[in-house]
């Protein structure tokens, strides 16, 4: 019987561990770094705004009541006539928008998504300290292709979903969901280290932070 690659590799690992036993027995991982941090609303808002702006995202703040108005303003300003939304985005968010709204159905091919001027989604969690927005594919955020292919991403962030640091954010995630971390628009520094914003993802990221949601 010939051994499978699986058995061979696992056997080699066991041999290796026997040949070079661990310098120390079972390691307990010291987790003395900061976890479970909290900050008042105003400070989380200020920190997130600062970090998003630093990474060239546009930031708008508003109250729940003004959501539709602010979203419409952003779309108008960017000249977006046709936008996509995930199946279960709160439809009132586009009440003030006079362009065409296409609800994603999952069988729209990627090139067709590329013909949209933009996409509006909600978000799952945000990390203030790093300026990172987490999308997890929930029905108000949609499949990953939807927030990737169009050139403008308008992302709504509720202040209550903004946490201070990375550990607090990771703790809120559901591991099995397809998760995308977004920190500003895409960028490259591959040519003589000169930063160029907007390579393959949306070239514009507009974040609408709702301070009472």
């Amino acid at each position: 019987m010939t051994a499978t690659a699986r058995d061979t590799v696992l056997g080699r690992i066991r041999d290796a561990l026997a040949l070079a036993p661990a310098p120390a027995p079972a390691t307990t991982v010291p987790r003395a770094y900061r976890t479970g941090r909290t900050l008042p609303d105003a400070e989380r808002l200020a920190l997130l705004t600062d970090r998003l702006t630093d990474y060239k995202a546009q930031v708008h703040t508003c109250t729940r009541e003004r959501t539709a108005e602010v979203i419409a303003g952003v779309l108008r300003e960017r000249g977006a006539h046709r936008v996509g939304v995930p199946a279960q985005l709160d439809e009132r968010w586009l009440d003030a928008y006079d362009g065409e709204v296409l609800t994603d159905s999952g069988d729209i091919p990627a090139p067709a998504l590329g013909e949209l001027d933009g996409v509006v989604t909600a978000s799952a969690v945000s990390c203030a300290e790093t300026g990172t927005i987490f999308l997890d594919g929930s029905p108000d955020q949609g499949r990953r292709a939807l927030s990737l292919v169009p050139d403008l991403h308008v992302c709504v962030v509720d202040l209550s979903s903004v946490v201070v640091g990375v550990p607090e954010a990771v703790a809120r995630l559901v591991p099995e969901r397809p998760t995308t971390l977004i920190s500003g628009p895409s960028a490259t520094s591959d040519i003589e280290l000169e930063r160029v914003e907007g390579v393959h993802g949306p070239r514009t990221l507009a974040v609408v932070i709702r301070t009472d949601a």
Binding site: A5, R14, G114, R177, T188, I191, L193, V199
Partner: protein, 566 residues
Amino acid sequence: MSTFLGMPATPPRSPYGTGNLRGERTFPQAAHDELRNEQLRRNLGRATHTIRAKRIAVTGELPDWEELRDAGAAIKTDTMNRLPELLERLERKVTERGGTVHWARDGVEANEIVTRLVRATGSSDVIKVKSMATQETGLNEHLESAGITPYETDLAELIVQLAHDRPSHILVPAIHRNRDEIRQIFLDHIPGVDPGLDNVPAHLAAAARAYLREKFMTTRVAVSGANFGIAETGTLSVVESEGNGRMCLTLPDTLITVMGIEKVLPRYQDLEVFLQLLPRSSTGERMNPYTSMWTGVTPGDGPQDFHLVLLDNGRTAALADRIGREALDCIRCSACLNVCPVYERAGGHAYGSTYPGPIGAVLTPQLAGMHAAKDDPNSSLPYASSLCGACFDACPVKIDIPSLLVELRHQNTEQAGTTAEKLAMKAAATVMRNPKLYTAVQKAASLSRAVGVGGRDRTISRLPAPLDGWSDSRDTAAPPTRSFRSWLASAEGAATMRAAAEEGARRTADDRTGGERTADNRTADDWTSGDRTADNRTGGERTDAERTDGDRTADDLTEGDHQEGQ
């Protein structure tokens, strides 16, 4: 073949003559050519210093940076101790979620698995996310020989691929190219590119965007690497900047991920550590623009056919060795490259391997061996370091690279004898600006190993020539029980090094007048002439309070015993 019974057998290294883990020439031979490339040196210098300054700024921002490093190092140690169990768990979780797991004993087998999977889809093209594992196995060449065209989608990898070139840096693989060269590469190789394309980076990036957009929309198979694979949940992760990763991981029908077995992490929670350590150490950002995490197959979202290829290719051989085992902790952030004075001069190509720089000098011989053939170029790699310790200070998982290199040199001496060692050291020294001083430091460092105190606190009782002469004549013998590095950073060490530097300069001048210029000496002259260049001193480069230059002069050394991120 290994069995669970009887004596454990030493696992094999990556098979000789396969993949990209060995150059054709030794490090010093290859470095000599690179040293003549002014463009490369300038670009590399600028890149490494810029990224370094950014890294210092964003790691300094976190008051718990050291605690994160401690956690990162411990998680990796724990991972290596429990590797079989963790890989089996990862396999189970990925399978439960609709993925298929494959195991590859070596790079050739991994390439064959990927090729077979691509063929099964009927596609003759694949899009690729930058992946060191597939660079290591030479997957692209293998695919091409099977009639499948791989398209690299990371901008730098695309430049490298179009120019039939090799990457020179882990993070910025095309750093050896300037904008004019890149423009020409695009004009020559991108079908239908605007002939009026200029050399503005934003325009060049836009040309790449347009070219790749079509590939993203139409190619049905993608191949990626992985930064992390979580055993607990089966979640895989790719960390990137441009969005090409998201495109490849999301749009195709089939996704094939090739991951080294050492990239597994025990728990999902561990991401809270590595998502802080990696971006800050790598690009010097608080967070990279995009990170994707996926678990098997998600109905209605992304590729519905997912394969994970777990790659050995010498990793188990490394695991069986104390040095290799520590080197496997590496998360490929490239911080150690950016602080290394030898890397900065020689460039990535000189190492002849997918893994350049300080970690490459350890990892490459561990994965592929350093005595696999007569005059194996890999045996020169342990000498491609000034042992200055900057890499250790920068490493987010606290790999003590200098100590590992000293151990590797020791292993090399045992295999090849002291004459070989001396020759290797001498050859490597010619890469540096001041070869004599470099050699002196190297000797002192290996002596410090011989004294038998390992790790950070290596002590020396006596300095070797030529430093001993200087310390004697100045009545400043090195104290017996200080660590070599703290001695090096002290005023006394500084004075000794200054003396040695002057000696080095004088001897080089003598050599020149003596008319005995060899090719090696000529290179040495280039590096010896003048003191530390003015531009290194100005422009705020020294905001970076790190130990960076093994060959720097006494003035630099008196800046004190810098430790990063305290």
